[in-house]
């Protein structure tokens, strides 16, 4: 009886969106009288930080700092339609809608600035700090604050824009299954190292090295929070979780966090995250949807590492100590 060490690898891809149902999201953007910008949506922030990302996308597109943008979302009386936050679609779909709305608002903003500066709108650019400059003559400039005031009180313009992103529904062909099930794909490769106690069946995940390709890290800190959390969830899925441990007997189903098995802080592996960026052709600033993908590759990587350690396959999730011990006994011909 011994502690045995093993490592396993898995490589995966993941689709963005729900093309097989039709996939629309809309957005509105408008300026306040003093040149702040409101993004109005009905998309839901699940805690992953959707509002922050939409603010950064709007700010980038209009050409203002992110703290000049406020996001108002998840109210059906004010927000235009969003299909919902699922299928790794939130950033991709709502982000594209916000870009379109922000571009339209930016165009009006530049037209008003052009009138104030007596130049052509096409000769103007933003400095990202809240000012509009004449290209090649940066001393000739006007603040977005003053442009918004002018639009509201002098020129009678609405600095606003409408955005909509729709992936039309793909209907799978009946006989061949020809279909377009998603837009861009995120990618991952994970290597997990484990120790397995062949006396108790206990698995300790030592390290998990995750390589994620996500199109573009729109906010690297927020990408990190989602990818690390996902990686932990993958370990939990591989080794711990079930609502029905002895199905169809329902007696042992967990009813709270004491009974429902999940890893605690001491059970989590040393986690490494490396991000590659291959911008997608259709995503906002090249982003893909990594929200679901990041919890997947750890599961087979851990399963393969367990095999590498003790030479038995557990092909049923979760890979519990009981299942490992039964497989070890079966291997040696001992009665289970």
């Amino acid at each position: 009886m011994a502690i045995r060490r093993g490592r396993g690898v898995a490589a995966i891809n993941y689709p963005t969106g729900m093309n097989l149902g039709g996939d629309p999201t809309q957005a509105l953007v408008h300026s306040t009288p003093t040149g702040n910008f409101m993004v109005t949506l009905s998309s839901v922030d699940l805690g992953q930080g959707m509002k922050q990302i939409m603010a950064q996308i709007c700010a980038e597109t209009i050409g203002v700092p992110t703290d000049r943008v406020v996001v108002d979302t998840a109210d059906t009386d004010t927000g235009p339609h969003c299909m919902g936050t699922f299928a790794s679609r939130g950033t991709h779909r709502a982000g594209n809608a916000v870009i379109q709305a922000a571009k339209e608002a930016r165009q009006v903003m530049l037209e008003v600035a052009a009138e104030e500066l007596e130049v052509n709108a096409s000769d103007l650019e933003t400095d990202g700090q809240g000012n509009i400059l004449v290209k090649g003559a940066p001393r000739k400039s006007i603040s977005i604050f003053d442009v918004a005031l002018s639009a509201h009180f002098k020129r009678g313009r609405s600095i606003s824009g409408r955005g909509m992103f729709l992936i039309p529904r793909s209907y799978p062909e009946k006989e061949t299954g020809a279909m377009k099930p998603s837009t861009c794909y995120a990618h991952a490769c994970t290597v997990a190292e484990v120790e397995v106690d062949d006396e108790t069946g206990e698995v300790t995940v030592l390290t998990v090295k995750n390589i994620f390709e996500i199109g573009r890290a729109l906010n690297p800190k927020m990408v990190e929070q989602q990818l690390v959390g996902g990686s932990w969830m993958g370990i939990s899925h591989a080794l711990y979780e079930t609502t029905e441990p002895y199905y169809p007997n329902r007696d042992h189903g967990g009813t709270d966090f004491n009974q429902y098995l999940m890893p605690g802080p001491g059970d989590l592996a040393e986690t490494e995250i490396i991000v590659l960026e291959r911008p997608s052709a259709d995503g906002p600033y090249g982003a893909k949807g990594p929200g679901e993908m990041c919890a997947n590759p750890q599961i087979p990587a851990v399963a393969n590492a367990v095999f590498d350690a003790v030479g038995v396959r557990v092909d049923t999730l979760p890979i519990t100590p009981e299942r490992i011990l039964r497989a070890l006994k079966a291997q040696t011909g001992a009665p289970n």
Binding site: I12, L46, G177, Y185, C189, I211, L276, N296, L317
Partner: protein, 455 residues
């Protein structure tokens, strides 16, 4: 976390001001100081609490329901049964024309899973609602139940859900969603080795910090404001409008920051019955799942079974892959017909294989209805595919990482569902994994690229 900018540098201009910047989240201070308002932070004068009477059986006929004792319980204001729900038989994906309607808001004549909602009790306090719910008497005639997908698909198995008429979802393609590419049998014939293996999974719980729920307020203008933690505002509003036969303009849904979703808050379970309660009593109503309901009643990830048969050559090329996937929807569809179909579009994984055959089934059993969860239709498939890849590599005596390089898809490769591959990056992820994990592979694999050959 490290950003490895050396990959795909030719496809990216790093000239942006706000994008790519690690700006602090504007909502973080509220979260960590307890100031963020969640739906359940709202409390209204006269608010009622809703609790469900649930089926103790997996499959049973309801002979009778007696609510007389419960109605006398102090604090009880209203008790709802199936006859009170205007459009009681519904299915949420009807909004995208994926029918038939197959589920009841409150059980009508039959229950099909252990935990199914039968009677809703509205009372002044949560405790009164709970105590009164225990006094509702339901007379059941227990019926034979189907627990296993393979049993469910056998001829003569008890029918789980009469609205379907058979124990699988009927797609326009028949009993399963199909993908056919190349000639899989010819591929198996030409292969050096065949490996057929079966993989299974158990349901798991989304385990959000905040349980599913809503608070409904009847407004003075005949409208209802529903504060909810749904993941999909209009999807929930439009389904509620159908179930309650109430014009959408009478409904105002307000969401906000949700305390974790993971796919568990898209089933439209709590909102319609809570709004109905508010309508019939004229008072605010809150319906919030207990932790036990969240873990044992709300839809989990489906149990799945995946059978993979591969033909592989001694040089590492996979020449044929046949996948049969089974998704256990439990007693009702919810999102499962979509998830099973999504699986068909995902197999055979990120590999270029010339001969592919895929069948994915959505199967009905007397199990807790499953539905969407992070990785819907994909996660268990990826577990099965990637363990199978490990087994195949060992079968032909090849390094598991090198084996994946040989089969990895690249730009321009045709996928089994007949879309050309675009934006591939699997090879580069594996190259970086080789480096980061100190897992050596032959130089030729480090020289590969996802870009189209010759590009």
């Amino acid at each position: 976390m490290e950003l490895r900018k050396n990959y795909f540098a030719d496809q990216r201009k790093d000239d942006l001001h706000e994008i790519g910047q690690p700006r602090p989240r504007s909502d973080s201070p509220g979260h960590v100081t307890g100031k963020t308002a969640y739906f359940a932070d709202r409390n209204f004068p006269g608010m009622l609490h809703l609790k469900m009477v649930r089926s103790p059986y997996h499959h049973a006929r309801i002979r009778s329901i007696d609510t007389s004792e419960a109605e006398k319980h102090p604090g009880v204001v209203k008790i709802l049964t199936a006859k009170d729900v205007p459009h009681n038989v519904y299915t949420i994906l009807i909004l995208i024309q994926i029918g038939p309607e197959d589920e009841t808001v409150l059980a009508d004549g039959k229950v099909r899973w252990k935990g199914e909602a039968v009677v809703a009790v509205l009372a002044e306090t949560e405790r009164a609602a709970q105590e009164a719910a225990a006094k509702v008497k339901v007379d059941y005639e227990v019926l034979p139940a189907v627990f296993d997908m393979q049993e469910a698909l056998k001829p003569g198995a008890p029918i789980v859900n009469e609205y379907h008429g058979q124990n699988y979802y009927l797609y326009d393609s028949g009993e399963c969603r199909k993908v056919r590419f190349g000639d899989v049998e010819a591929g198996f014939t030409s292969a050096d080795h065949i490996l057929e293996q079966s993989y299974q999974s158990s349901p798991i719980e989304h385990a959000p910090t905040e349980t599913t729920g809503c608070v409904v307020v009847p407004e003075g203008n005949d409208r209802f404001t529903c504060y909810t933690n749904t993941q999909a505002m209009f999807f929930t509003l439009d389904n509620t409008s159908i179930i309650l036969q109430m014009p959408g303009n009478k409904l105002h849904f307000v969401g906000g920051t949700v305390g974790g979703g993971f796919g568990g808050k898209v089933d439209v379970i709590v909102e319609p019955i809570a709004i109905l309660g508010a309508k019939l009593t004229g008072r605010p109503v809150c319906f919030i799942y207990s932790r036990e309901e969240e873990m044992q009643i709300s839809s989990p990830r489906a149990a799945e079974k995946v059978v993979i048969k591969d033909g592989v050559m001694n040089d590492g090329r996979i020449v044929a892959r046949k996948v049969t996937g089974y998704t256990d929807a439990g007693a009702y569809s919810r999102h499962s017909p979509y998830g099973a179909q999504k699986g068909a579009g995902h197999y055979p994984g990120p590999y270029t294989i010339p001969n592919v055959w895929i069948d994915t089934y959505c199967v009905y059993t007397n199990r807790t209805p499953s539905s969407a969860m992070r990785g819907f239709g994909v996660t268990i498939g990826d577990f099965a595919l990637e363990v199978q890849m490990d087994k195949l590599a060992r079968l032909i005596g090849m390094d598991p990482l090198e084996f994946r390089f040989i089969n990895a898809y690249r730009d321009g490769d045709m996928k089994a569902h007949r879309q050309p591959t675009e934006g591939a990056a699997l090879i580069e992820c594996m190259q970086e994994a080789s480096r980061a994990a100190n897992w050596p592979v032959a130089e030729k694999y480090l020289a590969m690229s996802s870009y189209a050959k010759g590009a």
